[in-house]
């Protein structure tokens, strides 16, 4: 199937075609950029939550069981982000549309590498 990607599922017996990509014209939102999925770390007293969106924003929040507190938030130069990840030592990373990597400290929002 030149020019197309297929998504296959390998069962114990066969390869099963689950979906064809891209979808036929007019079906689905083929050009959709998904909103990033929040990331979290529960390896601490209060969970740490990292969020990003496709409107330039990146934030880290803390959940104490009753309310969310914003630890820091920032506006990036690029609108579209990947889903963030909470790394060890509370580092938070996300990729902007420039494909540059932005690890920052979860506590203060300082860039530790660009």
């Amino acid at each position: 199937m030149p020019g197309q990607w297929i998504v296959v599922f390998q069962s114990s017996q066969d390869l099963v075609l689950l979906s064809v990509f891209p979808l036929p014209p007019g079906v689905g939102r083929w050009n959709l950029i998904l909103d990033p999925t929040p990331a979290m770390s529960t390896d601490r007293i209060n969970p740490l939550i990292a969020t990003a969106d496709n409107l330039c924003q990146l934030a880290v929040l803390e959940w104490d069981g009753a309310k969310l507190s914003v630890l820091w938030q920032a506006v990036s130069l690029r609108p579209d982000h990947s889903s963030p990840a909470v790394l060890s030592a509370n580092l938070v990373s996300s990729v902007a549309e420039t494909e540059r990597f932005w690890p920052t400290t979860g506590r203060r929002g300082q860039n530790v590498a660009v």
Partner: protein, 141 residues
């Protein structure tokens, strides 16, 4: 095995287990249907329609599996005029619909939910937007 291909865009399949412990793949389709596929056979176990009547709804992000084995997934309806509206749904691992929660303030997302447990309480985390998407004003950070 020949099955009719599902219509999937951004919903990556996620892995869960049925009540017997067998692996199951969950994925959302462009017509807002949550589908469970058995890993051992590749056969569709069940389908659960989560669309809203009278509007075009879709599942574009990945489901997530909660600690109790239930599946949480977001569907989004296109209300026209650039307006979107999302719902968060829970479906148990047998495919039974448990509940649906409308996002407040006309909120929507094309992202995936994240399920977690804190202090013994099952919680779902979703990042939502409200209003019509507007271009951002870039600033240094």
């Amino acid at each position: 095995m020949e099955v009719e291909p599902l219509r999937i865009t951004g919903s990556s399949p996620v892995l869960g287990r049925d009540a017997a412990g067998a692996e199951v793949i969950y994925v959302g389709t462009t017509d807002a249907t949550l589908v469970a596929v058995g890993c051992a056979t590749g056969a569709v176990r069940w389908k659960r329609s989560l669309g809203s009547p009278g509007v075009i709804s879709s599942i574009v992000s990945s489901p997530t599996v909660a600690d109790d084995g239930g599946i949480l997934v977001v569907s989004t309806a296109d209300l026209g005029g650039g307006r979107l509206q999302s719902w968060l749904h829970k479906v148990d691992r047998q495919g039974h619909h448990r509940w649906s929660q409308l996002f407040p303030d006309g909120g929507f997302t094309t992202g995936a939910p994240r399920a977690f447990t804190f202090a013994g309480q099952p919680l779902v985390l979703v990042r939502m937007l409200a209003g019509i998407r507007a271009p951002c004003v870039p600033r240094c950070w």
